[in-house]
Symmetry: D2
Subunit: 451 residues, 4 copies
């Protein structure tokens, strides 16, 4: 893992400056982007501050005056072209994602395809908005901003500190697609400058809407900032999705590892643990994301790995049993870890983990499982396996989440509304509802017609 | 004006205690409700504090567990019954409104009818929600809460300090209609206790949604409180609606007095001023709201009257001409006032007034009028009069407001979405969109079907 | 059964003349309405012909010019009032239905309640039609015409020959509700005059839309007539619903007798037959509809009873076994009959029966059951019982019908769209889709706005 | 005009055989396709009869079993590919249209672009259908069948007798796009064989839906055929659109020649006639469609030219004045003709013309114009020019047509619903409503969930 992996990305897509008003802009200093698997520096990126952020907001506001007057058909055409370019450069974009966040190439390819589907979908939705709209300049931290641009808004993107390269590559492709200057802006910045830049974007009166994906803690700070100008806000925050396996489940199908809160009913518990352990042995191969055989990459940085290690230690100290893994590896790597005899009060059941940790709680009754699942203050997604029709209905209805996977561990689909309830967020992305977040209803009452 | 007006309301509807969990609850102290026209005390009302507010939230949360499981048809039936009772007691409810806020009886009757139409509309909407919902207990400061109850939510209402009686009378009617205990709660409180009660309602994790109607300043405070638990929020805040009269307008129809920011084009300006002054002479009769001849009541309290007086003084000091009125009368009363030669920088054009003040700015071009109209940080409604089809289209599109009245000074209709853009608020009330504010989309993905 | 049952209906609701343009109109002759249980004459009804039908069409056309200009809110108010009157007179209306079509009182009450719900629903829908509409005079043979009237259409109703009294009673209530003259017209006529009246209604150019509920054979004749003037047409024709019980079903719940084509899987067949026979013994009590204990009334007339008898004879001749009943009783009565060892080629499986005949086919595989169920040229509703989630999905998707009942024998609900595929009809009734049948989309393109 | 124009189309797109189940199929005989401008034969095309039509229906029915099970995403992808190929071959396809129907190349290019937009639009709509569908094999006579294929239906196209080549070229492109065999079939046939083929397609029980564009007379015949199997039917029939110019119109903008029924108010009449005559002089250049300068091609065949000539003679005999043109030219050509002093009883005002004839009726009042405009039994589109806001509202509401152009002579847009009222047709094409014509609503009631 110590060898240096070459990026192998075409020079044109490896961008390291801010992108403001259609121009690449250097900042006074730079910050390093690291390969989380090796700790090696991949690139030095311009560390934009409030000066650059302000310029980007101004540029977006000016560009908005023109962009909103493009017909929906014209916007649709440009977004489709951008989509086509992303699909064409899919391989290179995936390499950037793998390099800066560590995930295996196959997952990176999947992420780019799913992300690009937002552009395809909203290039189509643009022409399906009936009636008048009053869109406005918006700031969006997500990789893809199809809904906003389709609605006629312009955007300023502040990418996550660890992963600016993919957003900058998309900016390059937006130029090639013909998106006008100022419509799409990117201001990368370091962890140090992020709070000030975030505050500026949330308080500047020219910004009409904030869209944020990230931790619940950061989301609350941004909400507070945004209150002062009564901005519209969309939030996709933490999830901590429960994954429940009932006795009636088909154990052969229920072995997905997409959650960090497993609840397994006593009658099926032992069979399930055996299957899952075996699946982890067979399917999880730890390594650098750009190795074809890798199915489990590093965590996003070493702090994240430390946190998982601490959760394992806490669980074991309170009686959990390590069935597989349990140890931290070098750098940001962690052994895929399966814990049994877990109880709801252990830290790993109360705090969300972003790592290969699978804690399993054994439960007896449906009611008990629902109580544990719903005890969380967040509610993004939830999963359960059952073949009992009545139980399926009951549990789907009672799970306090925005999305439910029944006998299914993969939920994301551009046709379905993505988003959570409780402290998991505000608003929905994708689907026919997604564009609403960027529109204002305008009611025009035409009087005096009987004269 | 100094004589004491008797309320003449049936004893059953004159309620002065808090209403929590289906019971009338006394607080440790009381606060007075005054007739703004005379300053006389109408009633002493229980001054609920955080203890009562917390009880109400708990009651609403418990009641929610049952209420959400009522079928939509059952909820619809109860809301319809409540609506029928309100219409039946319309006269008494209007008397309470006139007594506590001063407006003429005819307007109070109109307000009750419009408010009740929310209950009728949402009793019907209840059955038109397709798919799954995850509603939650909510707090609503508005008189009518049809949308929330229709969606299966339960509510805690904190009425405005000056006007608790009408909300309490509605609580009495909800009992008669058979709405279950805990579904609808009212916690009246004094100006002193309001901040603490407001904070509790906005921060308690059991409350899932805040809906507020009031000033932009207070709205921002509540938004900040609500951020900590990522609550859904609806806000109907300040408006300061512009009213533009273009040269092409029919001057005989454009003399509505529903706005505090008049912009009149130079070619029609003098004719318009003459008509408007004459209309004010003929139509505005200042007096106690319960006198049948009254068309202009007092302001809500004497502080409000002082503010208008100060605005007039400021305007005159900067060159405005008093065409009609201009003087403060006794107590909360103010002469209906028409000002000409007003400029956009005067206080009356920058700060919203809630009184009979009509400042008129003369302008030359359409562009100039739009610039003045849109310079405000808020954007609820806007009005304009014109007979030029192209101009109608252009101006309707460019006004930065949520509702536009074209040749029409009255916009409110339950079929149309009510709400504003910019700092005028978040969300829409009424219409087919109104119930969305109280619903969460739940996406259920049913997998494993091909086995 | 030979005793004479008194109607016991208030004189005001027992109407025997045609109802045209708000007036009760006698025809040159009358025709008798018979109690199908006893054959006794209940009433003599005016036998309207093409002269009266033409008058009714003209009246509806004239009334349409005013009715369409009522606001939706006004129409909504009148329909709600009519609904309230029907619910108030529910008992009397049910007596009329029982008297003229024979069904038990409890079912008649249910029918009136369900029918009235159309008026309630569409009185609400009226206000939810957004945008422009071009409605038109329409003829409707169904008892309730809420959708048409809500949309601003006026109607001429031609009731079924055997059952004109309930439609005439509704006309009386429409007068009391304040529905204007000409908006709702009824032209009762005898079996002899029906073809000429039907043709006139389907060919007159003043009639814009035909809505028909009845046999597929008659439906086809009306479609041909309507072709000459390109009328809009809605049809609710024959059903012959299949009812499938799979091995995985809960046999205790699957014993509804709402179908005439039972398909039962071999593994559950014998248990099911036993349960069903027992249920028939216990629950089916043959008698006059107005006897409280009756759960099975007569068929609509003696020809219908003859047809069922013939079907039983045919089935037995080809190998079917009579498990219960099998014999025709006096008049229009027939013993509730359960047949086993039925095959798909027997007449009772190919032609729809309107009587208490339950033929059961035993099958082995899901595919076999679907092939038999889908072999019919009609496809209104279909039912099946299963607890296997995958099977439920597969079968619901593959059944060629407009409505599917899964583990449920009762489908009708005003919130759900009622209607069939294949030769079962055209269009949908009820639900948010129902009003579309009476609306035309009008697209208005407003040009020249940039001048 | 007598010289022979070469087609200049790539051989691959000049197809002359039927296209059934993915194969090019010769019939026993052929029929000639003529250039309407010269009368020269362009191609000999296979004259398919009921044998070939039956094969096509069977193929479509078989293909349907697979095609409906493609995911919407897959169908969407194939339709998009077909769209891309059509745009790529736009020039060649336009040449085929010009060759076989005579219209100028610029118009043919426009037609292809508009037609192709149906495929683009419905490739997108395919993924926006929520809920279950029961689509079925359909026959469509229109060039483009995007909605049907998007919905999962398969189609048999019977092109118009005079113009089979463009439909066959599209079949070739469908192969290149990868549309599976049997999904899209074309059966060209001669005028002689058309009635029998039409009847077969309308009566075969395997066909579930008929969509027809053509004359009202033929539409009625097909409706009668379709009645016997209760098929769903969409019809786009005759229009005879009125074009009203009110005194308040901007005469410089109202000179479009897109209608054959002009109504001009007396105050603007003379100015309008002068402008229109001048516009015809300057803009209409008669010639072969493939000459770049041509703006007016021939009529579809010489019978059509004879009909226009007869209408002119009738009008003149009854008092009309020939302002421009009036004479038939060689073959299928006709001089662009402007008539004044026309009255509503002349044949040209009662029967639709498909040629360059502009009869103008002078009227005095709005009411008079509406009476003349609405006197027609058909109602597809209507146009009017006015700058009076109240008049615009009134006239748009009262015109009995499906589409209204206000100050605008071009209405077609894929985003808007295309279709008429009265005898102009049934159903709507394009827009979000268009796909409904090919879908059946399926209501699934899932019971037994409380167990």
């Amino acid at each position: 893992l110590q060898r240096r992996y070459s990026l192998g990305v075409s020079a044109q897509l490896l961008r390291t400056e801010g992108f403001i008003d259609g121009r690449w802009v250097s900042a006074a200093s730079t910050f390093p982007v690291l390969d989380p698997a090796t700790g090696h520096e991949i690139a030095k990126v311009s560390d934009c501050g409030i000066k650059e952020a302000q310029e980007a907001v101004n540029a977006a506001y000016c560009a908005f005056q023109q962009w909103k007057n493009h017909t929906a058909k014209e916007r649709s055409f440009l977004l489709r072209k951008w989509y086509d370019l992303i699909i064409q450069h899919r391989e290179d974009l995936a390499k950037l994602i793998t390099a800066e966040c560590g995930k295996p190439m196959r997952e990176s390819i999947g992420e780019i395809t799913y992300s690009a589907s937002f552009l395809e979908w909203f290039s189509e939705e643009a022409r399906r908005v009936y009636g008048d709209i009053v869109p406005s300049p918006a700031k969006d931290r997500k990789i893809l901003v199809g809904a906003a641009l389709a609605a006629g808004c312009t955007v300023v993107v502040k990418p996550a500190e660890d992963t600016p390269l993919s957003a900058l590559a998309l900016a390059e492709l937006s130029v090639q697609a013909g998106i006008p200057p100022g419509v799409f802006n990117v201001v990368p910045c370091s962890r140090e400058k992020t709070p000030a830049v975030g505050e500026l974007l949330c308080t500047d009166p020219l910004v009409a809407k904030i869209s944020f994906t990230g931790s619940t803690a950061t989301g609350k700070i941004l909400l507070r900032h945004a209150a002062g100008t009564v901005k519209k806000v969309s939030m996709e925050l933490g999830g901590h999705a429960p994954f429940i396996v009932f006795d009636t489940a088909d154990v052969d199908k229920a072995t997905c590892v997409c959650s960090n809160r497993f609840l397994v009913q006593s009658g099926i518990h032992d069979a399930f643990m055996e299957k899952l352990a075996k699946a982890m042995d067979e399917q999880l191969k730890v390594g650098h994301g750009s190795e074809p055989s890798t199915t489990q990459g590093p965590l996003i940085n070493s702090r994240a790995a430390e946190k998982v290690e601490m959760q394992v230690q806490d669980a074991v100290a309170h009686g959990a049993v390590v069935v597989r893994g349990g140890k931290r590896l070098q750098g940001s790597f962690m052994e895929p870890t399966l814990l049994s005899s877990v109880t709801p009060d252990m830290i790993c059941m109360r705090e969300e983990t972003f790592g290969p940790l699978v804690p399993v709680v054994k439960f007896n009754t449906e009611q008990e499982a629902l109580a544990i699942a719903n005890a969380s203050p967040v509610g993004l997604a939830g999963y359960f396996y059952s073949r009992d029709l009545s139980q399926i209905w009951r549990v789907a209805e009672q799970m306090e989440v925005g999305m439910v996977g029944v006998n299914e561990g993969l939920l994301s689909s551009i046709e379905a509304p993505f988003g959570g309830v409780k402290q998991s967020g505000l608003g929905r992305e994708g689907s026919k509802y997604g564009i609403d977040e960027y529109l204002e209803i305008k009611y025009v009452c035409l009087g005096g017609l009987s004269a």
